[in-house]
Symmetry: C2
Subunit: 565 residues, 2 copies
């Protein structure tokens, strides 16, 4: 469907507004209006239902402002960037690689100098004013800020919610009483200071994510619930080029999807998209090609939807190995490991540091015992071949000469081993999913627009109309409206204009049903319920309206409802 048409409906009817419109708006920033917010909340809540209640993942909620070391570790400070050029005359900025898109097979792979050469060769000029452009410069895509007064601490707005879960691995592991696997999710804002955002909701500078991080044993990527879904068939586009619909079981057996747990979450992602109203025929799961995949990822699948913009990535489901947790271990020095207890303790010969009390005593006197314990805890790597070693006890430093310890081989009973967990990450873009649902729900017949939203995401569940705003019809309609509202069902009361126009207003924003109170209602205590998609109507006792609307929301089809009555 034409994106302009959808965005125009969104603005007109209160799904979305360009943010800060009265100040000229800002590219890449949108407000969710009342209908968009309700829809976004529904999508997020249903996602929680699947991941938190259904899969038992825990939900956490971290700040969006984070100090620099977090993103130094994650790699974003060094590598999360695009190149831009700026017009010397009007100051307009452009993604440098985009300007060379038609002239080079992969301009993003070039460095500044190479890309500058290409732009010179093709004579790139400012698209606004024809002015000269600067040479390409790297621009980090994180919004930068500073925490605190005075010198302050460099900080960034998170470009993803994931890091909050990686840095909290140990807290969550303890919360879950030290078991693998366990999953965590976060729903919230993320930021990407795009150089020149286009494409409505697809490239936002501030966007909404739902991310899950499943921490698993590095050598165990089986998944108990896989057996319940292994017969399910998904439209796969493997990087071998051999696209076809295939059962999960076959995909795993033929090593097309790397492992069971990844396959399970690929399936759950597809199910989620269909449940919230996307058209399964316009969805596919595309495997990243080798050069596209992060170097540490062992496998990655994108859920893509066919939209007015073409095939568009909505979700990435990746096996990220131990990369993220290991990066934070390396940068912070924290022990972000899980402990695997062996079934039986094992005898293992290993090198240990053995303190020499005879030498320690005279040197450190009252503190000798503490120093000795600290020495025994050191890894042998730290002392081998050195003349002395420095140990730090609560901030006090002790220089210990090599005569005070030796490295010995020792047979020890060990009860288990430390593991750096692997991470399976399903990462969802909320705004893109919402847009895809709108695109797949948009039906236009002549000039009549219906959004065929599923009740689960429809921002208004029912329209309530008195045929006329008088003669007591309004009183009855308001009673119904109040009853629905009190039960937590968002309804919309409308008493103005012809009934046809009122239906049209509700159809255009995807309201699944409308309830009309007419003059007969006063006598027969019944009202009409109209189905959005079939436009067929049934007559229902006023006292049964709530129940009927609830049934429709629970997925009972309108035809079945008609039979029940």
């Amino acid at each position: 469907m034409d994106p302009q048409e959808i965005l125009s409906l969104c603005k007109r009817r209160g799904f979305l507004w360009p943010a800060y419109d009265i100040y000229g708006s800002v590219a890449g920033l949108y407000d969710y209006g009342p209908l968009g917010t309700a829809m976004k909340n529904s999508i997020e809540n249903y996602w929680r239902q699947l991941y938190v209640l259904g899969e038992g993942f825990i939900e956490i909620n971290c700040p969006v402002v984070a100090p620099e070391p977090v993103f130094k570790a994650s790699g974003h400070v060094d590598a999360f960037s695009d190149m831009y050029v700026e017009c010397n005359s009007c100051g307009e900025t452009y993604r440098a690689d985009h300007l060379a898109a038609d002239k080079h097979p992969n301009p993003a792979s070039l460095n500044e100098e190479q890309l500058g050469k290409v732009l010179k060769e093709i004579g790139a000029k400012c698209l606004e004013c024809g002015g000269e452009l600067t040479s390409p410069k790297r621009f980090n895509l994180m919004f930068k800020t500073s925490i605190g007064a005075g010198r302050g601490k460099v900080a960034y707005l998170r470009p993803e919610t994931a890091q909050g879960m990686f840095v909290n691995f140990s807290q969550m592991y303890r919360y879950g009483r030290e078991k693998l696997p366990f999953g965590a999710v976060q729903v919230g804002r993320a930021f990407r200071n795009e150089i020149s955002p286009r494409q409505g909701l697809l490239r936002l500078r501030e966007f909404n994510m739902m991310e899950a991080e499943l921490f698993v044993h590095p050598e165990d990527k089986t998944w108990p619930k896989f057996k319940d879904v292994k017969g399910e068939v998904l439209p796969l586009v493997p990087n071998s080029g051999d696209s076809r619909s295939m059962s999960l079981d076959d995909a795993v057996n033929e090593k097309i999807i790397r492992n069971e747990v990844l396959a399970y979450f690929v399936w759950l992602t597809f199910k989620f998209a269909v449940d919230i109203g996307m058209d399964p025929k316009r969805l596919r799961l595309r495997q990243h090609i080798k050069t596209e995949m992060a170097h540490y990822a062992s496998d990655c699948w994108d859920l893509e939807a066919e939209l007015g913009y073409g095939w568009t990535e909505l979700v990435g489901v990746a096996d990220r190995g131990s990369y993220d947790v290991q990066a934070h271990i390396d940068h912070s020095g924290a022990d972000l490991t899980a402990f695997e207890r062996f079934e039986e303790p094992k005898e293992i010969e290993q090198e240990v540091v053995k303190p020499n009390f005879g030498a320690l005593g005279p040197l450190f006197r009252g503190e000798a015992k503490m120093v000795s314990e600290a020495l025994a805890g050191l890894s042998t790597e730290k002392v081998k071949g050195k003349k002395e070693v420095t140990v730090d006890l609560d901030g006090k430093k002790f220089v210990v000469p090599a005569s005070c310890y030796e490295v010995v081989r020792k047979i020890e009973k060990v009860s288990g081993r430390k593991l750096v967990p692997h991470v399976i990450e399903p990462s969802y873009g909320v705004d893109r999913m919402l847009y895809a649902v709108l695109d797949h729900s948009y039906v236009k017949k002549e000039d009549y627009v219906t959004l065929r939203l599923k009740p689960i995401v429809a921002p208004i569940k029912a329209g309530v109309f008195p045929l006329m705003p008088r003669d007591g019809l309004d009183t009855i309609a308001l009673e119904i409206f109040d009853e629905l509202t009190r039960s937590g069902i968002t309804a919309y009361y409308d008493d103005s204009g012809s009934i046809g126009r009122r239906y049209a207003r509700m159809d255009e924003v995807g309201t699944p049903c409308c309830i009309t109170v007419d003059y007969d209602s006063k006598d027969d205590h019944s009202v009409t319920i109209r189905d959005r998609d079939s436009t067929s109507q049934i007559r229902v006792k006023k006292d049964h309206v709530l129940e009927a609307v609830k049934a429709l929301m629970d997925g009972v089809g309108f035809e079945s409802l008609a039979k029940m009555k």
Copy 2:
């Protein structure tokens, strides 16, 4: 209750963690762990239930990044600041007024120079290292950033969610089909780059707000639902000093609370606090004293709770007059007004600009009609006493000499008038409310801690335990756990340790009830439900567990439940 004790429980059990702990953490930034997130979600959802479903407010959702003009208009760029001093030796920063707190009655009222003098007189030094301090400097408390590459646009992280609703007044007014009053809410993050945050959840650099903006007719501050609650008695602390419990009706009649609509939302705020579990005896509503109130606000009431920190502001409910909307009209030039249609058109004599066709025609030829229409639309203020006036038509400027128009008095029928709406703003701090609920729920007997959380905010609704993790007891318990979970009820399955210890774990995190499967359960198909607060137990058929837990969540007391069985 001692804040340290509550924060320690929060950290240990997964309500809250200091953010970025592995990198040394950052003052004023916290993560919500799984229990904190669940509780925060519950508080926000219940608030939506009251404001969106109950009061019919619309919910919108704006970006947290906003360009400078928004906060230039709101006054934050110029006036949202504190003074700080910095240690010349160690770089530590301090709120300058805090350092003078004991030596001056109101140090925040001083300017930089005056406060610098006071600090010199009292010989203020760095509290960390004793070093010399710089003189006080102003520090804007908004986090600053920049949008886009190259020159970029100065931007800030919003210090409140309110501005997003003010700048969208016209969109929302149109969405609501141009009626006053209407209300809008926003739930989301806000930021305040505190100089030296203390006090756990009370002073955060990144926090969560729930704000409502009710736009009303400036001359009509009645409220239909006021009559339903006017008998309710609230603990008021008016700025006259005469504190007492008083009915809303009396408070409005005696002009203690300025108007009905403000009184209604003061009441709703109190109700909300009690509903989520605060102790009404430790709540009060304090009116701002004149010097404390924003200069434009005509009345403002804070909901305060008595906490371990002392009386603490949780919510502000203010009548902000037309200040906010007018500020954006003045800065943006946009027409953020409502239109009041008179019951009958009125004849009003007014000055208008009357174009002179005879003069316009020869000068502007084909464009004369457009220029004429533009002239007729001008306010007379713009042309009076000028030799010429410039009109702008789609970007093209026309200089029109005074001979082309005149100012005349004319009797016109007008159908209505433009109004700048007044705003009633209830503004809630989510983190503070959550903390206050924890404080008021914390009960310690000897060393046994129980959080007496109401079911509505309890992060876990039910613990499910097999007496032993074998002999089929675990199977039965897991069936119950699954049944609860499928019904959307967050349960916690625990099969390790003594039953007493398992109860204690659940009591400490506020789980209202626990369900135990024992050896009898296999024969009598019944299980034990234990009430957290009374520790009394009832025996219930396994098939009735879901129903019983739902009843407890709906507020049916445990005793009533016992009688029902």
